[in-house]
């Protein structure tokens, strides 16, 4: 359950980063590098919950060595690898290459070596080389957007293609996953930007923040519409499973779906953002409103994943009754592990921010 949440954040953060490079949205440039690093930090930790869930974690490499071509899960391993190695790491390298070289020349021992190694010992900082870097980033981003869509859309497909489960089996699932990924990714980068910038004693760029907020607003609207469509479609078709799903929503998922996901995680933040647009609010107040909205949205998306993953396992396969989910506190799949897994990417991000400071541009 932690896994789809984490990959969602990855895909969302990357798509946000792509806006700068592909669509030349200048306003969000301050978050470009931060988004890429966020995506990498979360992507590195994302497989960990999956690994812990396996009965035989030491056999997991078999997914790559002897994959079953008809298995959505097996093929996903390659989508993940492609995205990590072919897109994210490559783009980061080209983006930072010149800076790494310049930094390593200025620095003293441990860091100079780290940066030199990370630049793969390249030394060319000529204009032609930098121009090539830019060109490469452009190409990677163009390939990266569909890859990011594929990454999280595919997570949706893994659930959506399970015909045995009426709560999961829906063609809309990949798109719903993707949109909610974009929502959560933008909200996360906004959160990090709003926390990290004041910590470094720098002013928050309100143009950037407003732009991010407007993207977030549209993404939430699209996400909400898709989920509403899915819901209405099920209700209107009123198939056999509607009884058990109705009972599920009215009882076990009441709190997490209706209250947290829909009311607190969608309607309330959308209301806040509409209010911000309607009434001209001061910058300080806007920050406060945005911050509240992104926290709520993050909570809402987490609840969305919960409702899909746990919700899908709360009724019997004969559709004749609900089962219970008892969360462990300790243990390999318990609450504490989940909290650690959710905190780990931030730790990784901290390290990445130290090694690749996104705000430090090397002098020309």
């Amino acid at each position: 359950m932690v896994y789809p949440y984490l990959t969602g954040l990855v895909a969302g953060a990357f798509i946000l980063a792509s806006l700068v490079k592909v669509f030349n949205v200048e306003e969000v440039r301050p978050t470009y590098r931060l988004s890429l690093l966020t995506a990498l930090a979360f992507l590195l930790i994302a497989p960990l919950p999956l690994q812990l869930h396996l009965g035989h974690p030491l056999r997991s490499y078999e997914i790559f060595l002897t994959p079953n071509p008809t298995s959505a899960m097996a093929m996903f391993g390659f989508v993940y690898l492609w995205y990590l190695m072919g897109v994210l790491v490559l783009e980061l390298w080209f983006e930072y290459r010149r800076d790494l070289i310049v930094w390593s020349r200025e620095e003293r021992f441990p860091m100079s070596l780290v940066h030199r190694a990370l630049s793969l010992f390249s030394t060319d900082t000529s204009d032609a080389a930098v121009a090539f870097d830019r060109k490469a980033i452009q190409v990677i981003t163009v390939i990266g957007i569909p890859s990011a869509f594929l990454l999280h859309g595919y997570v949706g497909f893994i659930f959506g293609s399970v015909k045995a489960n009426p709560w999961w089996g829906s063609v809309l699932m990949p798109i719903v996953f993707l949109m909610s990924a974009i929502v959560s990714g933008i909200a996360l980068v906004m959160f990090l930007y709003m926390v990290l910038t004041p910590l470094r004693g720098e002013p928050i760029d309100m143009r950037c923040l407003d732009k991010l907020a407007s993207y977030l607003f549209y993404a939430v609207i699209v996400d909400f519409s898709l989920e509403a469509l899915d819901f209405i479609h099920r209700l209107y078709q009123s198939e056999e499973s509607i009884h058990i799903l109705g009972t599920l929503i009215a009882s076990k998922l009441f709190m997490s779906l209706l209250v947290i996901q829909i009311f607190l995680g969608m309607l309330l933040p959308v209301g806040i953002m509409i209010a911000v647009r309607l009434f001209s609010v001061t910058a300080e107040l806007r920050k406060l409103f945005y911050f509240t909205a992104i926290i709520l949205i993050q909570l809402g998306i987490f609840a969305t994943r919960w409702n899909v993953v746990i919700g899908g396992q709360l009724f019997s396969k004969s559709f004749r009754g609900l089962t219970t989910y008892k969360m462990e506190v300790v243990g390999i799949e318990g609450l504490i592990t989940a909290l650690v897994l959710l905190a780990l990417p931030f730790g990784v991000l901290l390290v990445l921010l130290k090694v690749f400071p996104p705000w430090r541009r090397a002098a020309a």
Binding site: H56, T70, K317
Partner: protein
């Protein structure tokens, strides 16, 4: 070892290897044809609802035969009691589950009809579990069984989610997916699955769909047959006679 020495020993080694290989081949050729030919069989099971008395002996036999954990909730086969009340509401309970929350007791006068439904892996001809397994640890045999290789399964549980019949569980000891095998180890020796062997009313009929003389073919000829969740196109090979429309 220098180059010369190495080449010398190679001269001896290669012919020696050839001799050993040919000997091994001859030894292999002497092995008799295996008596059991998978391609000549295609298995399925028939279940006559009206004959099941819910004694649960099939479940007990299965657990003993296949090392299924004794605790409830781990089953390769189980029996459900369906009670359809006069208000048309349906109560489903697994026979033999005594622990847990108080089970709903339906008063005699509220019962419209009641019956037992033995369930197990349907050994589907189009199995979703096989489709989704990321490492090919579960597969369809030529003779129509769906099996799991516990030395290969990584315990991801995707097959458990993909099975529309809830026929799979994660074995707490092996940490791999486990399910009914039609007692494959018995069947290839010409024996019946344990559940079929012990059924006192012969509610379960096991047979070979490729053999006209099989009891299963006779069962299919004499009964109106239904399978579970046919709309999912899994093409189950567990056939029910007298199945109620309320059963899922």
């Amino acid at each position: 070892m220098d180059k010369r020495e190495f080449l010398k020993s190679l001269v001896v080694f290669i012919p020696a290897g050839g001799v050993i290989a040919s000997l091994a081949k001859q030894a292999g050729a002497k092995a008799p044809e295996p008596a059991y030919q998978a391609k000549n069989h295609y298995y399925g099971m028939g279940i006559e609802i009206d004959k099941c008395i819910g004694c649960n002996r099939c479940v007990e036999a299965c657990k003993l035969e296949n090392d299924v954990p004794q605790e409830p909730f781990f089953f390769r086969t189980w029996v459900e009691r369906y009670t359809i009340k006069k208000d048309k509401s349906v109560v489903v309970q697994t026979v033999g589950l005594r622990k847990g929350k108080a089970r709903e007791i339906v008063e005699q006068e509220d019962v419209l009809r009641s019956f037992f439904v033995p369930k197990l892996c349907n050994h589907c001809a189009n199995p979703p579990c096989v489709q989704v397994c990321p490492v090919d640890a579960t597969w369809s045999t030529e003779d129509g069984a769906v099996l799991v290789d516990k030395n290969r399964c990584i315990g991801c549980r995707y097959c458990i989610q993909a099975c529309p019949y809830g026929a799979r569980y994660l074995h707490p000891k092996t940490k791999t997916a486990d399910k009914c095998t039609f007692c494959y180890h018995r069947v290839v020796r010409g024996l019946l699955p344990a559940c079929v062997e012990v059924c006192p009313t012969q509610a379960r009929i096991f047979g070979d769909l490729k053999s006209q003389a099989s009891r299963l073919v006779r069962f299919e000829r004499l009964n109106k047959i239904h399978v579970l969740k046919p709309d999912l196109n899994t093409q189950p090979k567990v056939y029910y006679a007298g199945l109620d429309g309320e059963v899922r």
